[in-house]
């Protein structure tokens, strides 16, 4: 059987894919003396840069005395961490049971239609990334979603449209 030979792509270096190295250095300095600091560091880098640039992994690994492989393994394990920028707005729609019982499947289908992209994708104009989320702890007020970090409960399709319209108008 023919197999595809070639393997994955080479990881970019900072000089090939520039990112804000000073910002990463600040984050690393802030957490330098904290035991088990990799998750807080990755969260902070993502908060500052919008994502964790693959080219920054070398800098992080070096500062922590760990290998790039170890850092990469952690980044790819956790669904929060993204290696590429998201859309200008991130809409996370709960897909878990309580919200299912209150119409989240229909709400999700409505949003996919309205945005013209599926869960896990970004709209063609780059304005909204639509993502699944598994429970926001708002299960007595389902269905729930999170738009740019803000919580919304008992969301109807019309309410979701209004939220998105307001967000897109703002930026």
């Amino acid at each position: 059987m023919k197999v595809r030979i070639g393997g994955p792509e080479r990881a970019p270096r900072a000089d090939e894919a520039p990112y804000d190295q000073d910002a990463v250095a600040e984050v690393l300095a802030r957490w330098r003396d904290t035991p088990g600091n990799l998750l807080p560091i990755l969260h902070d880098i993502q908060a500052r840069l919008g994502h964790i640039p693959p080219a920054s992994v070398r800098q992080v690994a070096k500062a922590l005395g760990r290998s790039r492989a170890e850092v990469h393994g952690v980044i790819t394990f956790y669904h929060d961490f993204r290696q590429a920028p998201a859309g200008r707005h991130v809409l996370k729609v709960c897909q878990a049971e309580s919200c299912q019982a209150m119409g989240s499947r229909a709400l999700t289908a409505h949003l996919e239609r309205a945005l013209g992209c599926a869960l896990g994708e970004t709209t063609a104009d780059g304005s909204v990334t639509l993502e699944p989320i598994y429970c926001l702890g708002l299960c007595a007020a389902s269905p729930a979603l999170m738009l740019d970090g803000a919580l919304h409960a008992r969301v109807t399709p019309a309410a979701a449209d209004a939220l998105l319209a307001a967000a897109r108008e703002g930026a």
Binding site: V3, R4, G6, G7, E9, E70, H72
Partner: protein
Amino acid sequence: MWAEVRGLRDDVDFGTPPRSGAPVTLTIDGVEVTVPAGSSVMLAAAEARRAVPKLCATDMVEAFGSCRVCLVEIEGRRGFPASCTTLVEPGMVVRTESPRLQQLRSGVMELYLSDFPAGELPDGWSEFHETVRRIGVTTHGYGAGATHHDLPVDASNPYFLFDPAKCIVCSRCVRACEEVQGTFALTIDGRGFDSKVAASQDEPFFDSECVSCGACVQACPSHALVEKSLFDGGYVRAESPEA
């Protein structure tokens, strides 16, 4: 045969590293055996010549507990503990074979086969193939589903190649790289069904932090990491029967 091909060890693989505690005596399939405290049940079973089937365990690295074919029954305990991660206790009574264990091990092997290129099964001679034969599973009932067969083969290293289709994600290579070599060049990328062995940031082995020591190739139980010298004229995956 595996040991000869590797040429690296001709002794028994006890599955977990040796320990040096005070002697503990236990019974395995009716055989009394004494091993140092801190040893695994798997090691004791090998010592008693009642070796338990295993895939993720090898005595060059610490126990991991992921493959779930080394399950045993222990008197007075619920369920089916993995013998690699269960430590011996004085007077413990262990059973390594039973119809129920055979059923569970077969079930686990079926899952492996559902994601293993069928064409690579008949003539293979890796530890994985030996284990498949020992447990006696030849096919699986899952039909066509998601697999890792389309992932590209990484042949960037001059000495060995990595075929992810034959990888059973036991992490022996990752652990050998860490525990034997201290290089930490390998990891698991992603999680769940998407988990796959990756060099550094999922890049070609040759570009990665890999130092070509070969510990991962030696550790691999399924020939996913395999020496190129075995394939004159280039690597070809065996034709799948249904293809």
